[in-house]
Symmetry: C2
Subunit: 686 residues, 2 copies
Amino acid sequence: MALNHPFDPLTPREITQAADIVRNALHGHALDFRVITLKEPRKQEMLAFLERERHEKMPAQRPPREAWVQITVKGASGTTDFYEMVVDLDSAAVTRQDHLVGKHPYIDSAYMQAVEKACRSDPRIEAEIQKLKLPAGATVVVEPWAYATDGVNDMSERTSMCWFYMRLLDHLDANYYAYPLDLCAEVSENLEVTKIYYLPSAANDTVSENARPYDHNKVHATELSEYYPSLRPPPRTTTKPYQVIQPEGPSFQIEGNLLSWEKWTMRVGFNYREGLTLHNIRYEDRSLFYRLSLAEMFVPYGDPRSPYPRKGAFDLGNDGAGINANNLRLGCDCLGLIKYFDGWHTTKSGEPLKLPNAVCCHEQDDGILWKHTNHRTQNAAVTRSRILVLQTIITVSNYEYIFAFHFGQDASIHYEVRATGILSTAPINVGDKVDYGTVVAPGVLAPYHQHLFSLRIDPAIDGPANSLQVEESHAMPINDPTIHNPFGVGYHTKSDIVATESGLDLDFTTNRTFKIINENQMNPITGTPVGFKLLPCYSQMLLAHPQSYHAKRSEFGSHAVWVTRYKDDELYPAGRHTMQSLGGEGIASVIQQRKAASQGDTNVRNEDIVVWHTFGSTHNPRIEDWPVMPSEKMIVGLKPVNFFSGNPGLDVAVSTQENNKSVLFQGGFCGRFQTLRGVESIIGVD
Amino acid sequence: MALNHPFDPLTPREITQAADIVRNALHGHALDFRVITLKEPRKQEMLAFLERERHEKMPAQRPPREAWVQITVKGASGTTDFYEMVVDLDSAAVTRQDHLVGKHPYIDSAYMQAVEKACRSDPRIEAEIQKLKLPAGATVVVEPWAYATDGVNDMSERTSMCWFYMRLLDHLDANYYAYPLDLCAEVSENLEVTKIYYLPSAANDTVSENARPYDHNKVHATELSEYYPSLRPPPRTTTKPYQVIQPEGPSFQIEGNLLSWEKWTMRVGFNYREGLTLHNIRYEDRSLFYRLSLAEMFVPYGDPRSPYPRKGAFDLGNDGAGINANNLRLGCDCLGLIKYFDGWHTTKSGEPLKLPNAVCCHEQDDGILWKHTNHRTQNAAVTRSRILVLQTIITVSNYEYIFAFHFGQDASIHYEVRATGILSTAPINVGDKVDYGTVVAPGVLAPYHQHLFSLRIDPAIDGPANSLQVEESHAMPINDPTIHNPFGVGYHTKSDIVATESGLDLDFTTNRTFKIINENQMNPITGTPVGFKLLPCYSQMLLAHPQSYHAKRSEFGSHAVWVTRYKDDELYPAGRHTMQSLGGEGIASVIQQRKAASQGDTNVRNEDIVVWHTFGSTHNPRIEDWPVMPSEKMIVGLKPVNFFSGNPGLDVAVSTQENNKSVLFQGGFCGRFQTLRGVESIIGVD
C-alpha cells in the first residue's frame, strides 16, 4: 500500500483506526465522535521532510501521523462531556486528552433536528402557533440556530435559538424564508423549550408583548418569493448553451492529492472545519506558501432588538466549511473538464463518512494574459490567460458561499468568495421601515449584517523566514530644498517592516501595500528582497461595539491585516472553540498575552510568520438579493513582486485561432448556423 | 436606404459628405482633416426621439444629423491654424466654426513620424549617437511623445519630446524599450531639433552634463528582454487547448448598432477619442443609462528629474482610444462566438478610414449566478452566470489597455480595465537604485507612474431626473438613551443626497456607497427610491502636487466621484483639448466657474446629472511587469439597488449537464481520453 503524504487528509482507513484507538482508550464509555481529522505535522519536522522529499521520492523518515479527535461523552447525570484528543496512528495511542469544560463542539446537525422536533412537539409552542391563525394549508418550519452569546443566559450550557417560518405552498422546497413568523423559542441542552418570544415587528418595537395573528397582507406572489424551478413560472429561454471543450485533456496532472499545473505544484487538503486547504504551494519548485486556508468567517446581524443580537454565526468554527461542503455536480457547479476531490469525515459512531465531490478542479479561460502591438510594424503578440480553479461551495442554513482559489500563469493567486443563497429574514409589519434592514417582500425584513472572512496566509517566500513590509506611495515635498522635485510631480515609496505581532489597517489613499518578503533573498536585478504582495479586498471592519460580545468573540474583525509568529495548530483567528464562546480567545488576545508574557517570540521580522487578511462585506440587502441572491463577489489577490526575473507568463504561447477555434458571427438575426470543427466557421445571416 | 439611428456613428458616406461640406465652405484652403465624427444630438431632442421610438419603429421627426469636424490649415507664414466646426449634414452647412488659438489637436501619427525622421536626420543628434559608442549592430529608435506641459517652454507651439532607444537584435520587433539611451531631444512644430539632453542616469543625478558611452553591462539576455515569439526560446507546451462552443449560436441579436441580449438593449457607438461608447442602455425596456463611456485617462510619471516631468500622457485626449483601437483577431483577442464592430475615422484628406474589428462582442460563462441547497431536502437549484462582453483594446506607444463592459443577467454592469504592454523605460547606471522607479533589467529603470481613468456615467435611472445619494453604515451608539442598542451590536445606514456639483471621496471604512437614485420613482416594496449603486475601484488619487501642471491639467484626478449637471457636449473631465493644455479647463474648474456665475444650474438633486468615477492604479512596476506586463485588472461595477422587485436573474434556467456537457476527469496522468459529444465523458486513466 502506498504511504500517505504527511499533508494528505486522513484516509477512511485511518479514520476507522483513530476511532478504534479512542474506543479502546475509553473502553466502556458511550462516545459520540464529532471530529476525526488530520493533526498536521509540526512545521519543523515537516519542513525537513519536504526538503528530503525534493531529493528522494518517498522519504522513509516521516513526521508522525496523528489525528485530532473530538468526542462527546454522556455523563451519568445526563451532562455531556467534551473531549479533544490527539491520537498517534503510528503507535496506536492517545497521546493527549483534554477535557474541555465550558466549551462546546461545533453544531451537530442531528442534535439540531432534535431541537426542531422538541420545539414542534411542545404544547406551548403549538398553542402559540394556533394564536397566529396562519393561512389554510400553511406548514410551520422551525429553523434552529446556534446561540450567539449576548451575556444574558448562563453560557455553560448549550442553548439553541429557534426561528419560525412557514411554507405556504405544499412543496418541501417552497421558500419558507418568505414567511417569517412573529415567534421565537430558546431550547436548552436537554431539549426543553425554556423561553418563547414574540418578535418585535413594528419599526419602533424594541420587544413585543403579545401574540399577533398573521397579517394576510404578507402573502405575496410565488413569482417574487419562490426560487425553486418547479415552483416558478417557466424560465427564460433566451440563454443559448455554452460549452467548454478541451480536446487534448486538461493541463493539470494529479497524483493523489498532489496537483501540478503549468509551473505550479501544491497539495490539496480538506478538513471538516476549513474545508479546502492548500499546502506547500510552489512555482517552478520555488517555495511560495506553506499553507493557504480560509480560517474563519463571522456573520453578525445589525438589528439591535432582542433577541436578534443572538444572530451571529461563525460559519467555520460553529458550522464547518468542510462538513457543509456541497456535493458538486458536473455541468452545474462546474463547467468544462472537471476533476473532483472527495472529503472524508466521521459519523457519530466513528465510521468514515464520505463527502463526495467536495472540491472541484478545472481550468478556465481568463481573457488576455498579455498583449503588445508594435506600432511601427503593427505586429501583435497576444496570449490568453488560463487559470486553474479549485472551488468548494458550502451551504450554511439559508446562505451559500462559493470559495475558489484561482492560480494564474503569471504566478498570481486570487481567492474569490461569492455569497449567494437566501437572506435570513425576520417579520416586520406591512408598511413599516427600519434603518437596519430592507423590506424585501411585504412583511419580510432582511436585516443588515456583515460577512467577515479571515484568509490565513502561511507564507514561505523562498523559505520560512519572512517579513511583512508596509509600503506607501507619497508625493515628494515641493518646497523642500533637500529634495529635488522642481516641477512638483515626483512621488516615491516609503516602507517599514513590521517588527512585532500586530493588527494593521488598509489605506488606498496612500496606496498602502502589504508585501511578504524574504529579506535573506535579494532579487539580483531590482536589488530588493523577493516578495509577494497582498491585493486586499477593501472592506468595512466589524461594526459591533468593542464592548459587545460580537466584537469580543471575533477579534479578527477589527483589523484588515494581522501578522503573527507561526505556532503549530494556531489556525483559527476567533479561537479553536467558537460555539457560545465568551471572547478573549481570538487573535488580538493571543498577541496581547504573548506580548504580556514577554517571551520575545512576538517578533515577526525575518521569522516564520503568518499573515491573516480580514475582508468581507457590510451586507445591507437589496431587494435584488431576494428571494435568492445573485452572487456577490469578493476577491483577494497575491502577486509576486520582484520575486522572479521577469513576467512569469512570458513563455506562455501566443494565442492562435488554430488552437482556439473561435467562430465569427456575421449579421444580425441568427437564422441558420454551422459549426465546422477545425475550420473557421460563420454563424448567422445578414 | 435605411435611415441611421441618431446614436449611430457617422457612416463612411456621411464622413465623405461632411468633408465635402467643409471643403466647399473653405474653398481654396489647404486643409488637413483631423476629426469627422458624430456630434451627438442634443439630449432634450434625443429624449423626445427615444420616447417616440418606443411607439413607432422609425420616427419621422428626428434630431438633426450633425458632425464635429476638426481641421488644420497651413497658414501663409508657415503657421498652422486649428479649427473646430459643426456641420449640419441635413442642410449641408457649416453651422459653427471656431478658430482655436493656443489649442492643439490630438496627436498626428504622420507628424510624429516626421518628428522622428527630423531627429534622425539632424547631424547634431547623429554626433551625439556616435559619442554613445553603441554595440555593433545596434539600431537607434526614436520614440516621440507629446509634450506634457511643465511651464518651461512657450506653450503656444506644438513641441515633441523624443526619447532614444536601440534595438540590439536585427529584427523590427525586437524590444527596444530594453535599451533606453542617455539621450533626449526636443523638436519644434517646424520639425527642428531645438534642444538635446543627456538624461540623468545616476541615482543622485538631477541632470546630466555630459555624454557617456553606452555601458556594455547593460546588455542583457534575450530571454529576459524580448517578448516577441520569434525572438524567444520555444514557449511552454503544457497549456492544452481550451475551446468555447455555442452550438445553437449566441444569445445576442444585433440589428445595425442595436444590441439585444437577454433583457438588455443598448446601442453601440464609437468615436476616435473615447473609442467604444454605449447609449440608451435599458433592461426590460426600463431606462438605466443614457450613455456610458471612458471619458479620459491620464498617465503622469513620478520621476522628479528633468525632463521626465514632461512624461504625462492623456491617452484619450491626446492619443484617442478610438484611433488607437486594435484590429481584434478571432481566437486571439476574443474566444468563442464573436461579433465584431468596425469603427470609422477620417484620413487627412477627408476620406473615410475604416478601423476594422475595433470592438468585439461575445458571451462568457462567469461561474455561478446563484445557488441554494435546501438543507432539509438536499435539493439544490443552481444557475450559471452568462455575461455579455463588449471589448476594445488600444495601443498607446508602449502600453496597451483592454477595456470591457460586462453585462450580467442580474442586471449588473461591470467595467473592466486591464493594463498590459510594455513599461516606458529610462536609463539608469548599473547598480544604482532610486525610490521612484524599479530596475527591471541592468541599466533599465521603469519609473513609477499612475494611471487615472475617468468613467463617465450618464444615468437615466427610470428617467433623466436623478440624484446622487451617499450612504454610510455606522454603528449605533451604545450608551445613548434615545437609541435602542442594548447589546451594542446594532448598526444602521445614514444617507445624504448631494445638493450641488462636487467632487467626493471614497471611504470603505464607513462602507460609503454612492447610489444614483430616482426620487420620483419609489420601489413599492422597499419604500425607497429606485437606484443603481457604484461599486468603485478603490484607488489612490493623483500624487502630483496641486500646484504642478500635471494636477492643473487633470483635475478629475483629485476626487474619486464627481457629480455634475448634464450639459450637451460636456464629455471630457480634463477639457476638450488636452494637448499641451495649461490647466483650468477640467471638471473642477467648470464646477467652480458655474458656481461663481451663480446660474443656479449647479443643483444636482433630482436633475439630469452625470457621475464621473476616477480610478486607476499607482503603478510602481514590479520586475514581473517586464518585458511585457501580465494584465493588471481594475474593475468598476454598477448594480441595481432596490430598482426591481427581486433578483433580476431569478428566471435564468437552472444549469443542466444536458446543456453544459461537462466532462469528468478521473485519475491522474492523462494517458488517453475520449470526448463523446452528448454524453458524460471520462478523460484520463488512473
